[in-house]
Symmetry: C2
Subunit: 102 residues, 2 copies
């Protein structure tokens, strides 16, 4: 399993609308994508306009090829894109180690 | 529960040594800290010198006050600090939403 980590900055004061939008986008678009395994949406404490979206995919290509080349990518961006203050910074990670409790 | 997200960049070619060190540091120092709930260590795919360390704490202050003011903080930094190419970027997050599967 691969972690997509998207570091998102939104325009000030748009938190409530963005939170509704990202939930809607994840639940209606991303969660139906091939290879989708799960998600977490994290909201910044020190930086209240920062969100870290974590999407777990079966393979790297499920995100970078299958999802990004599908019509779902444009649907997703149409839902969340209007709130972005800058292009999200997106990279992928492998899990090196974790505790039993998380 | 609060997520500490530490975005770490290490010196090139030090991956194997750093991975041993961070595992040792988390298991022997951080996991004994007050309020520690769990951890994940993620290794960058596009950026092989990038690691994202996630530590889950009961409260924000368990990290920012209790841990950082304890002798354990210096112990931890002595173990992992030598590998850092730059000071880690550390912020904290609340969980807004997640799927059942993660």
């Amino acid at each position: 399993m691969i972690l997509e980590l998207a570091d998102i900055r939104i325009a000030p004061g748009q938190q409530a609308d963005f939170e509704s939008a990202i939930l809607h986008g994840v639940q209606t678009v991303i969660s139906k994508a091939q290879g989708f395994c799960g998600y977490k949406i994290n909201k910044g404490i020190e930086s209240p306009e920062r969100y870290v979206l974590m999407i777990f995919w079966e393979t790297l290509e499920n995100h970078t090829v299958d999802f990004r080349n599908s019509p779902a990518f444009a649907e997703w961006r149409a839902i969340v894109g209007p709130y972005f203050a800058a292009p999200p910074v997106v990279e992928h990670f492998e899990l090196l180690a974790k505790s039993l409790s998380v």
